[in-house]
């Protein structure tokens, strides 16, 4: 992990600056309720629930907001008979 490099010594202020820049860029973007990652998260869940009964405990969502790219990982356990139960 990159963070550990900072622990060794040297200055910590550059790390602080970089973390704040990324965080604030995301927070400012989301004040108008247009945080794309959040929107995708909600719409993906909505789409899934159309096809199967979504058991929230079986859905794990992970995000990592980056400077250039963010990642969204949605991990869903789909039971064998999920399709039948829907409709």
């Amino acid at each position: 992990m990159k963070l550990f490099g900072f622990f060794s010594r040297g200055q910590s202020a550059p790390a602080a600056r970089e973390r704040l820049q990324v965080l604030l860029a995301h927070e400012r973007a989301s004040t108008g309720d247009i945080d794309l990652v959040n929107k995708l998260r909600d719409e993906i869940l909505k789409a899934i629930s159309k096809h199967m009964q979504v058991d929230d405990e079986k859905v794990s969502i992970k995000m990592e907001r980056g400077a250039q790219v963010s990642t969204l990982a949605v991990d869903i356990e789909i039971p064998f008979d999920a399709g039948k139960k829907a409709a």
């Binding site: 992990m1 963070l3 900072f6 622990f7 910590s12 202020a13 790390a15 602080a16 973390r19 990324v22 965080l23 995301h26 927070e27 989301s30 004040t31 998260r41 929230d56 405990e57 859905v59 794990s60 969502i61 992970k62 995000m63 990592e64 907001r65 980056g66």
Partner: protein, 271 residues
């Protein structure tokens, strides 16, 4: 059943969030299962101090409002496997915290973790009283400075009246954590003495955390100070504090003084 700790102070900026992260990490580094809960709705910061700010998906308010399951909102620390964070909401306000919602969340966390550490917002309003509501143990964070001591006294009063334990006629365990202790200023005689603070507040001392650059450096890189540099003076002080929290009878050393002092001061029970 886990124990619920509230880290509180009344006064702002005294080191509650720093201490919640450091104590939580220190306990988890010893293998205990810990969750730190950010109650500072609207002004969350614990995520930043713990370096998890980029990974927040859901928060406490989402869980209370039924928009997410608790398990989906918990963020596992990347360095210590048994350390988790439940972030506060950044965009909504404290009114979204309902007493019933908080009760449910705390009950669920208690059954899954050894320690539930609630990082209280400053003040004596709703956010602070909800954070302390279900606590078994209170850590009162105080700086050796007049307004901080006065506010701590106020908070101790609330702990003895507004918590569930107090309402049930039980005693809530209270500990004083003296933070930002500056040995140089103490040497010059410009800072309240440890004994004075203890005498005024008369609750047992959990530890003294020195004022240190290491705390700033840790928050810059997004790691609790016990993880960022486990051998730094503030980290060692936090490690010792967790041992006392678990009941060990360790003498407290005043930073800058060689003499360790225990006896009547640390041993004194709350009035």
């Amino acid at each position: 059943m886990g124990k619920v700790i509230v880290v509180t102070s009344g006064k702002g900026g005294v080191g509650k969030t720093t201490s919640s992260a450091a104590l939580g990490a220190a306990l988890a580094q010893n293998g205990e299962k810990v969750v730190v809960v950010d109650f500072d709705v609207g002004l969350r910061n614990l995520d930043l101090v713990m370096g998890a700010e980029r990974r927040v998906v859901y928060d406490l308010v989402n869980v209370i409002q039924g928009e997410a399951k608790l398990t989906q909102a918990l963020i596992r620390d990347k360095r210590v496997e048994t350390l988790y964070l439940l972030p506060a909401s950044q965009t909504r306000d404290k009114d979204n915290l309902t007493p019933e919602g908080v009760e449910k969340v705390i009950a669920a966390l208690k059954s899954a973790f050894d320690w539930v550490i609630c990082d209280s917002p400053a003040g004596i309003e709703r956010g602070a009283t909800l954070a302390m509501r279900h606590a078994d143990i209170a850590i009162v964070v105080t700086n050796p400075e007049v307004s901080s001591v006065r506010d701590s006294d106020r908070i101790i009063g609330l702990l003895d009246s507004k918590t569930l334990k107090a309402e049930n006629g039980e005693r809530i365990e209270k500990h004083l954590l003296l933070t930002r202790y500056d040995a140089n200023r103490a040497e010059r005689g410009d800072m309240l003495k440890v004994d004075d603070v203890l005498e005024i507040l008369s609750i047992p001392l959990l530890g003294i955390i020195p004022e240190s650059m290491d705390v700033l450096r840790a928050s810059n890189v997004g790691a609790p100070v016990t993880l960022a540099d486990g051998r730094s003076a503030p980290a060692l002080a936090y490690f010792e504090a967790t041992r006392r929290l678990k009941g060990e009878d360790l003498p407290v050393t005043i930073p800058g003084e060689k003499r360790s002092f225990l006896g009547k001061i640390f041993g004194r029970k709350a009035a």
